[in-house]
Every structure is written in C-alpha cells, then in structure tokens.
C-alpha cells in the first residue's frame, strides 16, 4: 500500500514496454499513456494518507512525500494532456518516449521519499537518465541537430552536477559515519561552520541546484529548453523542480544549528539567479528560452523561502513552487497548442493570438501576469509571502534586490502579452484545441486565480505538510 504509487508507475512502464515490442499505433499509445497517467494519479490519491518507512529506513512515507507525489503525478498528467500529440517525435518511438517519461517520474517520486544519501543518489540518477534520452528524441530540424546538442549538454552538465553531489556525499559520510540523512544532519549541525561541512553541504546542494536550474548550475537551461521538443521541455520545466524543492527543503530543514555562512552562500545564489535569469530573459526571442531564463529567476525566489530556515519559509517555498509549476504548465499548454507541427514557437508567432484563440490568449495572459507577480494571481501572493518572510528575518537588502527583480521581469512577460493582444496575426487560422486541452487550461486558470485570491487554505496546508516532515 505504502509503495503503491511507485508500483503503479513501474507497472505502467512495463505495460508501455510490452506495447513498444509490438507494432506501434500512435493513437492507441497515447490513449494508453493517458489512462496510465490517470491510474498513477489515482494511486497517489489513494495512498495519500499512508505513513511509514521502507527499505531499512532509507525510504520514508509521510504526508510530505505523499503531497509531493500527488503533485508530481498531477503535473505529469497535465504534461501528458498538453503533449498528447507528441507532434515533433517520430510515431515509431512514441512508446519508448512514454516509457522513459514514466521511469523518470518514478525516479522523482522515489526522490521525494528518500531519506538516505545513496537512495537519494539512485533516485536522482534514475530520473535524470530517462530524461537524458527523452531530450534527443526529437525529429531533426534541418541539419542543425539542435536536439542532439541539447541532449549532450543536459547529459554532461547533469553528470558533472551528480559528480559534485556524490563527492559531497562522500565528505558527509566521512564527517559523520552515516548515510542516514537525519543522523548526518544532526552530526553536521555541531560542526556547521567548519569548512569541510560547508563544502560537503554545498556540493550536495549542487545536485539539487542543477535540477532546479539555480545559478551556478543553470548553464544547461536555455539550450535544452530550446533543443528539446515542446512536450519534453514542459516536463523538464515543471515536474523535476517539484522534486528538487521537496528534497532541498527536507535537507535544509534537518539543519538545526546556526549556519550563517550557508545562509550567505544561498543568498548570493538566489540574488545572482534572479539577476542572471531576468536580465537574460529580456533579450530572448524564443519563448521557450525566455521561460527557461525566467525559470532560473523563479528558482532564486524559491530559495528566498528556503534560506529563512523557518517552517513558514519552507511552506512559502512550497506554495510558490506549486504556483510556479501551474503557471508554467499553463504557458506550455499554450505553446504546445500554438505550435502546429511541434516546431519551436517564437514570441512573434504569438502575434494576434487573441484573434486565433481567445481562450489560449487568456490562459497565456493570466499565466504570464501571474509569473510576473501581478495581483490577484498566485505569483503575486507567493512572492509577497516570500518577501515578507525574508524581511521578517531581517534580510532587507535581499528583499529590495528581489523587488527590483520583479520590476525587471515585468518587461519581458509584458512584451509577450503585448504581441498576443496588440499584434496582428501573420496567419489567420483559428487554433483548434481539443476539449481536453480547453478543460485543462480552464482548470489551470482557476487554480492560478483561486490560489492567489484565497491563499489561506493552501498556506495552512503547506505549513502542516512541512510540519509533518519535521
């Protein structure tokens, strides 16, 4: 029972593997994948209130992990819906694509439950390797092989980051003699300001920074976002970030000593992420690249909650990343619908979108305004609570720098909104989006508005989730 979501995923992957052996039929495949996605989501809901630990305490099942598993399954379901057609991927490899997608999600789900260094490592690798293969599975556009470049970049940066992480773990083991996260962190807290401990923690964090696309482990983002197919990018941009934040919070929350040096390092990373992401996003013409850079900036904001080392700060970070994933998925839903053959979407291709499809234009506008942090949407509330939390801890300068970043970010989000509403379409075809897509976009819209207008329940829930893990 406790392992049900993971078992369902594994079973789903096996079913897809069996399908991939036979002659593939794209239509049937996508129905099967969607069905399996729903089954996984149902399984996570079903085992929502489970508690316990498995595998000699390497694997912990609590409210915290189950909430994240549900979120991951939900986000995966949205990715499956918006990428139903897999437009830019050869029909013959659709089963393999889904196979790796499910395996990657399996890795992520295991990641949020892992409380032991090696289990974390294994789960992380499982989720990463599947994605390394998904990235280059795109059709060749011309002779650029940009998908290959993206795949290689993702792989090399990923391996480097994991290398750092593994090295840091070896330090941790050397310093504490244990691989159990709870024991490690308890012992580390006594030597928290020792250089060896700081190096160990920073190196382990590097692995999560890579997943979360935080400075200085962000270099893969633009090219991978651009090179991978739209559906893959939607996945990379949302689901792994949930798991990364989950583990980051789990790791940091076990620290109970005073660690001003670590806080300072995290602050520097947060500020640099925001500035780097926002300033680079200003000049992008490809919307996926732009969202990639904006994702770097948003990761910096998430860090703002984590570095307060308070339960309320973790809860805010959790609230923010959920909101971010929803806003981001809404954007990718529009991108995938606008791109007729799965090609990349330039910002100017969105010109006059409101004439071609009012619902998609509304979805994109709300999502972008929310990402920009304009009330009454979730992005504003999230940012507001993060800033309030950071200022409560007395980080005035950090808050001012973050606020300046909000102002910078408006410009590039607004320039996309500008073309969708004020531009004239180059191509007047109405965009036909299916019933599923429309319903999903309305649901995402509602979540963005409701989370922004009535955040109380969500924050309470996030707080109790974080508390359950302590």
């Amino acid at each position: 029972m406790q392992f049900l979501p993971e078992l369902t995923l594994l079973g789903a992957a096996l079913v897809i593997f069996l399908v991939s052996l036979g002659k593939s039929d794209a239509d049937k495949m996508k129905t099967i994948a969607l069905g399996l996605g729903v089954a996984v989501f149902a399984a996570t809901l079903f085992s929502f209130s489970q508690k316990g630990s498995l595998f000699y305490d390497a694997y912990k099942i609590d409210l915290y992990s189950q909430v994240f598993k549900t979120l991951i399954a939900g986000a995966m379901l949205v990715v499956l819906i918006l990428g139903r057609k897999l437009k830019d991927i050869k029909n013959s490899v659709h089963p393999e694509y889904y196979l790796f997608l499910f395996i990657s999600v399996l890795g992520l789900m295991m990641l949020v439950s892992s409380v032991e260094l090696l289990a974390i490592f294994v789960a992380m690798e499982l989720s990463s390797f599947a994605v390394y293969i998904m990235v280059p599975m795109r059709n060749d556009s011309g002779n650029y092989h940009s998908q290959m470049e993206a795949g290689i970049k993702y792989l090399l940066f990923g391996v480097t980051a994991t290398g750092f992480m593994l090295f840091g773990m070896s330090y941790m083991f050397g310093l504490t003699g244990s691989t159990q996260l709870a024991v490690v962190m308890e012992k580390l807290s006594h030597i928290y300001n020792q250089p060896a401990a700081i190096v160990a923690i920073m190196m382990v964090l590097a692995g999560f920074f890579y997943k979360l696309a935080l400075f200085p482990f962000h270099f893969w983002v633009p090219d991978v976002y651009e090179g991978a197919s739209n559906e893959t990018t939607a996945f990379i941009a949302s689901v792994p970030k949930l798991a990364a934040v989950a583990l980051l919070i789990r790791l940091v929350s076990m620290v109970n000593g005073e660690g001003q040096i670590i806080v300072n390092i995290l602050m520097v990373c947060a500020v640099l992420s925001m500035f780097y992401g926002n300033l680079s996003a200003l000049v992008q013409t490809d919307i996926k690249r732009m969202l990639g850079f904006s994702g770097i900036a948003h990761a910096g904001f998430v860090l703002l909650g984590i570095l307060t080392f308070q339960i309320s700060g973790y809860a805010n970070a959790l609230y923010y990343i959920i909101g971010y994933v929803v806003m981001n998925l809404a954007c990718f839903l529009v991108i995938c619908s606008v791109s007729s053959n799965g090609e990349n979407v330039q910002i100017k291709d969105l010109s006059g979108l409101h004439k071609r499809s009012p619902l998609l234009a509304l979805t994109l506008t709300v999502a972008l305004f929310a990402l920009a942090g304009i009330p009454p949407f979730v992005g504003f509330m999230g940012k507001f609570m993060l800033l309030a939390g950071a200022l409560k801890q007395g980080y005035l300068l950090l808050v001012i720098l973050a606020a300046i970043n909000t102002a910078i970010a408006i410009f590039y989000y607004l320039s996309v909104v500008r073309v969708t509403f004020c531009g004239d379409p180059d191509n007047n075809d109405n965009i036909v989006s299916g019933l599923f897509t429309n319903m999903t976009s309305i649901v995402l819209l509602l979540i963005i508005v409701i989370m922004g207008v009535a955040p109380q329940q969500f924050v309470d829930f996030a707080t109790s989730t974080v508390q359950s893990m302590m």
Binding site: F384, L387, A388, L391, L396, T406, S415, C422
Partner: protein
Amino acid sequence: MDQLLINPNYPHILSTLIFLPLAGALLLFFVQNEYFARYWALGIATLTAILSIPLVSAFDQTSAKFQFVEQCSWINSLNIQYVIGVDGISILLVMLTTLIMPLCILASWSYIKTRVQAFMICLLIMETAMLGVFMALDFVLFYILWEAMLIPMYLLIGIWGGPRKIYASIKFFLYTLAGSIMLLVGIIWLYKTNNYSFFIPDMMWQNYSLSAQIYLFLAFFLAFAIKVPMFPFHTWLPAAHVEAPTAGSVILASVLLKMGTYGFLRFALPITPQATTLLMPYVLWLSIAGIIYGGFTALAQQDMKKLIAYSSVGHMGFVTLGIFVLNLEGMEGSILQMINHGITTGALFLCVGMIYERTHSRELRSATGVGKYMPIYVTFLAFFSLSSFGFPGTNSFVGEFMILAGTFKHSIPLALAAIPGAVLAAAYMLRMLQKIVWGGTDNPDQSWLKDLNLREIITLCPFLFFVFWIGLGPQPFIDLMHISVINLLEQFHAHQGQAVAAAELILH
C-alpha cells in the same frame, strides 16, 4: 479599532459597491451578444452609482472616523484582513468613481465597435479595483487592487487604443509598476515594525525613526508621484492619454490620477509626518515646476488630447501644491480640486472623443471652425474650457482659489510662482476654444458634421451640472471632508511638534 465606525443601517454597502461590477463582469464572460453587453454594463454601472448615493446621505459629517466599515479576516497566517471603510477624504473620490463610470460606458456606446464584451469586462473590473483602492484599510488589500488595476487599463489602451498604443500601454504599465515595487517593500517593513499588522489606521502616527520615515516617504513618493503624475515623472501620461480610447482617457484623468494624491493624503502624511515636514519644500517646488511646465507644454500642442493631458500635469501640480502646504485651506482646496479635475478634464476628454468619432483625427487643425455646425457641442466645450482654467463661477475656481489662499498663507514667493500657471491655463484653453469654435480663414469644410445626439448630450449634462454646483455652492462638498481634514492636520501638527520638541531636547 477605535478609528472605525460601523454603520448598522448599511452593513454591507461598500462591499456591494465593490463586488457588483465584478459580478457583472463575470457574467459578461459568458455572453456573446454585443448589444446585451452594452446595456448590461450600463445597467450595472448605473445600479452601482444609485447604490452609492446612500453613502453621502448617511455619512456622519461630524466624525473623522472611517465609516461604513466592514471587516473580516482574509489571510490569517499573515494577518491580512479584508477591511474597508470611507472617511471624509475618500468618500468624494468614491462618489466620483461610481458616478463617472456609467458616463464612460455611454461615451463608448458607438466608439467601441470591436470586442465590445471584452471592453465592458475591462471597464467593470476597473471600477471594482478603483473603488477598492479608495476604500481599502488594509495595506495588502490596497496594494493588490492598486496593481491589479493595471491589467484592465493596460488592455484598454493596448487593444482599443490609437496607433501608438503598444508603446503607450507598455510605458504606462512599466512606469506604474516599477514605481510601486518599493512601496511593497515599505509595506512589508511597516508590517514587521507594527507588530505584524497590515491595518492602515494602526500604522499612522507611530513615531518611526526619522531615517526610516525618510526611506518610507521616498518609497511612497516614487509610487504616488508617478501616478499623479508629478514633474518629472509625467512622461507616461501624455502617451497613455493620447492613445487610450475615450473611456480610458476619462478614467485615467478622472480617477487614476487621483490615486496618487489620495496616496499622499492617506499614507505619506500620517505615516511619515516628520519626513513630510523635512522634504515638503522639494515637493512644493516640484509641484510649481509641474504647473509651469504643464502650462507651457500644453500651449504648444497641436493634438487636442495631448493638450488636455499636459494641462492635467499642471492641474495636478496645483493639487500636490495644496496638499503639501499643509494647512486647512490648501488641503481642502486640493481635495476639492481633485474632484473638479475629475469632472472638468473628464468632460473635456469626452468632448475630444466626440469630435474624434466624427473626424477621426485629434489634430486641432482638422477640428477648427466647427462652432457654426455644432452649436450644442461648442456650448458644452466652452463651459468645460472655462471651468478648466478656473473661471469664476465654475468649479475649478473654487478649488484653485482655496489652494492659492493656502499657499499664500504658507509662503508668498511660492504662491507668486504658481500664479503664472493659472494665466497659462487660460491661454492654452482659450487658444483651443478659439480654434475649435471659430478657427481661421483656412478652416476645412465642416458642414457635414452632425451635432451631438441625445446620448451624447445626456453623457455631458451631469458634468455640466457638477461644474456649476461646485462652482456656485461648494459648501456641501467641503462639509463632507471638513472634519477629516481638520483631524488629519491636528494629528499632523501634534506629531510634527513632538518631533521638533525631541530634536530641541537633543540639541540642548
């Protein structure tokens, strides 16, 4: 909570006013019929206006407390409440907003031909946000509505605007948003300092340290001065005014600009009294600069909307002048002048919009000599122009007179510096009036122009009514705000005095 007064006869009147337009807008999302959308929006806005009338009749003029208060918790974890109320300073602005909205919808009746439902949705959401800004007593509620208002206004300019709408809408959005970012930091700082409460009346008169007050004042000033707009933060205004559709220009001029001056009165003065005293001279001279600059620039304009936009810079300069001389005449004159500017400039934008609907040009050259063919139109225009430069008997005269009286009391050189502004106003308004009514020997052929129709006359009449009412009998309006202004000034001087006393103590 002793600053609040709950009026048992009208327990939910303010919430009704806020949420009625929003509910109306939500319904329009499901409507495809343009005619229905127009009538529906007009009906909702009129209903809101009618429902707002009891506010005035039941308002207790002898109390400086916030009235018609409604309060409930909203976000517990941050202690954010949904708390709204009006006092003598905000009630007139609330009334101005509710009364002007139906007229804006009437003015867009035939002007807006495409995507009517979306236009009406934007207008109604604007109304909700604007009313909320004037009523909010919780700083987060205020900030949310203050920012949320940008989205519908951006769309109003960006979709239905003129040829340079993209530039204008982006500039408007960026300026306002960038300006209010530091306001947000200030709000959070106040929250932390005030025992984790966002309740605005609790933040007032708190004796923060002088350096904190100065930083807070600067944060407030940046946000509000851009919104007013004060020279040199005014450059977004002409662009936005010129490109916005008529209703957008009217809302911008009549209501949005007032939010800046309202912000000064509501936040800057009570929260940072010492910083205000310290920085007052700079603000006053910036106001003078705005008055003179607005006047000269308006004199040189060929585009009628631009002319009125620059005249707004000058008129709002008078308003900030009146606020920061910090005496009773000046402040009451300022609040009255906010209303006057809303009425007169709103009406002038409507007049320009009516010409534009006919000739499809805002150039002064192409509108010359219409007096012969549009007698009703030029009658209205003449009255509003006279009102705009403060002709005795019209509303602006009363406001400007009070402001200048207050300025003379404060400092004579300052008042003398403001006088040319009033002369300039007469110059540019009369120049426009002369050209439109008579023109010269080279007038274009205007004989095909039709005079105003009944709808347009109905739109303009209420404005004219208020021009003369405030011009001839301003007392009821002043009575409404009197006690609140006196209370504000008394508290202000008390806290300023404390500060001076403390400073002397340190010095000796």
